[in-house]
């Protein structure tokens, strides 16, 4: 079966060539990925496997940065870097902020 991320040979339509510069939180996702790799907490292959394990619906409904953030948090929970409770508490704290992205 064709995995949902393995698109070679499937009809693609025209290539979207608009410039879409990354916003701050998207850059932070990439910075975090670099950091956890350098600290030996994650390999590129683990990151890719997590992206490929999100399921087709989630994968296609999220933006590039959103799915990378979700795959990263799944990996960090699986490796015990933080717990689900700690993540939930942090998300709740961010929700209470006036400006969620200072």
């Amino acid at each position: 079966m064709h995995a949902y991320h393995d698109l070679g040979g499937t009809p693609a339509g025209p290539i979207e060539q608009d410039d879409h510069p990354a916003v701050l939180w998207e850059k932070r996702v990439e910075a975090l990925l670099t950091l956890v790799r350098r600290r030996g907490l994650l390999t590129t292959d683990e990151n890719r496997r997590a992206l490929e394990s999100l399921g087709a619906d989630v994968y296609h409904n999220l933006s590039y940065a959103e799915r990378r953030a979700l795959a990263l948090s799944n990996n960090m929970i699986a490796k015990g870097v933080f717990t689900i409770d700690e993540l939930a508490a942090k998300l709740a704290e961010i929700d209470r902020r006036k400006d969620p992205l200072p």
Partner: protein, 108 residues
């Protein structure tokens, strides 16, 4: 790259295939993180070069070491053999990096 090839060759088995040899990509569909594109499985090509030994990404994807290292090859395929109804040039080819455990010898 030549230095890493030399070092790794000393502690790993020799590559099973040599440049020019015809190989077929295994037609299998395992779970996990697979770097062999679906469209090339079951197709035959020619070893273009041996790229060196590398940790197996299918193992590294699960947090393991990727040992034993796997031989990686660049394999050249004729586009008109890969795609049904290919409308490009008859000499067009596509090169794909493939690990040895995905390849089997193919007849000439």
């Amino acid at each position: 790259m030549s230095a890493s090839v030399a070092k790794d060759t000393m502690r790993t088995a020799k590559p099973a295939f040599t440049p020019g040899q015809r190989v077929r990509v295994r037609q299998v569909d395992p779970p996990g993180h697979i770097r062999t594109p679906h469209y090339i499985r079951g197709k035959s090509g020619v070893i273009e070069r041996f790229c060196g030994f590398f940790p197996n990404p299918e193992e590294k994807a699960y947090g393991r070491s990727g040992e034993p290292m796997r031989a990686l090859y660049r394999v050249r395929f004729v586009q008109s053999h890969v795609w049904t109804g290919y409308s490009g040039g008859a000499l067009d080819t596509v090169d794909i990096d493939l690990y040895e455990h995905w390849l089997e010898p193919a007849g000439a």
